[in-house]
Symmetry: none
Subunit: 249 residues, 2 copies
């Protein structure tokens, strides 16, 4: 997109005065919108901070803050001495399915993770059923604790076929980043939600009392061609977590 167009688009976004957002937030939201709507194309370069600052009538500090936030979220790529580039991939994998981290952040809390184990191992009976494999076929299992404001909130156990993930060591932070690099990013998911009661091990990991209700989410992720990639079970402390969904007729 030509600079002229981007800048006037952003100028409109920032000029909106009927709401209480800080200026950097208006610019951030405007940029994010421009990227999502492909007014700012993937791989394109942004006007420089100084140009945006001058053209939008904002201080460079304000412009930088907006850009930094989007870089943090993966929308933009920052390189010292070089113009900022629109990332060629956007984080979202499945529409309407936000990541745990996004979800926790949206509740005003800080997300965190603690790895419990990453191994190649034999599948459990439910993993055999879910992934449709033989009981003697090994898989990669990733188990971690999910935190919100440093409080354990969920135990997540992901089982991934070795076809798509040969080694557990490939995953440092995000499983989906690795799957994407390997052209195995899921396009469809089935989620099953139910309630349960905390087990002694879970009670210890989640630091909650016996009898605490558990919100259990099983997720099966599929490629476009229908092959299953991953089976993940997440067990949330039911006293601390809920799901909100929207439905329209």
């Amino acid at each position: 997109m030509a600079r002229f167009d981007v800048v006037s688009y952003l100028r409109e976004q920032v000029a909106q005065s009927q709401d209480e957002r800080p200026l950097y937030r208006k610019l951030q939201d405007g940029l994010e919108q421009a990227i999502n709507d492909e007014l700012l194309e993937r791989g394109a370069f942004m006007p420089s901070e100084r140009v945006l600052s001058a053209e939008l009538g904002l201080s460079r500090v304000t412009v930088r803050k907006a850009i930094d936030e989007l870089a943090e979220k993966g929308y933009l790529i920052r390189r010292h001495g070089s113009k900022t580039e629109v990332a060629s991939r956007v984080e979202k994998t499945l529409s309407g399915l936000s990541s745990f981290s996004e979800d926790i952040r949206s509740r005003g809390m800080e997300p965190g993770t603690r790895w419990l184990s990453k191994e190649i191992t034999m599948p459990s009976p439910s993993e055999v059923m879910a992934l449709g494999i033989s009981p003697s076929e090994q898989l990669v299992r990733l188990e971690r604790l999910r935190l919100a404001d440093s409080t354990p909130i969920a135990i997540e156990r992901a089982a991934v076929l070795r076809t798509f993930l040969p080694s557990a060591d490939l995953v440092s932070d995000s499983l989906y980043d690795v799957l994407e690099q390997r052209n195995a990013l899921p396009k469809r998911a089935l989620q099953r939600m139910r309630a349960g009661v905390v087990s002694p091990r879970e009670a210890e990991l989640l630091q909650c009392p016996d009898g605490t209700p558990i919100f259990i989410v099983e997720r099966r992720c599929f490629l476009e061609d229908g092959r299953i990639v991953e089976f993940t079970e997440t067990r949330y402390n039911g006293d601390r977590y809920d799901f909100v969904v929207e439905q329209s007729a």
Copy 2:
């Protein structure tokens, strides 16, 4: 939402003098209502305390107390030096949530219903909040047991505004049939799902043991013009019921 709109809406809420609620509670309830009805959108920023105090004619202590209470409940996010933000429970848009009867039938079981009560009555505190009515305004409450193959599986409690349903006797089988006849068929719903533990009364009705996990679904149904019609809470026996939904990119 524009500050002007928020402030005049809240001014109306606070001006209600027909009840005994303290001022901070009126403001708190008004804010909660505005958030639930999405007049105050998730992720939006509030006017500052000082602006609200001046515009609503309340002391800042009063405004702060209302906001603090909502922040404590997770509706608002407080950040020192920065305006208060409406928490965004990231809402997932899901397809495939079907009616109870359809769902049970698709599992090869026969759905059934047993009415526990149909009455015009005073609202509970959560119904007051959910429907945005005054505590002295009566509503229609319909309580029934949901069966699968004659086994009790859920307790459903629906509260409907008398604007849309003047009498409980109008409902013989399906609430939605009646609402449709009265041109009040909901077009949109928000559902909140969480886990809990069965109460003694529920254990008796659902014929399940103490400690059984409960899958709780709260549903708020809206007309096309945004007005709320109904607030329903359904408590499912977690050992017998789960939800399966599909999502795609």
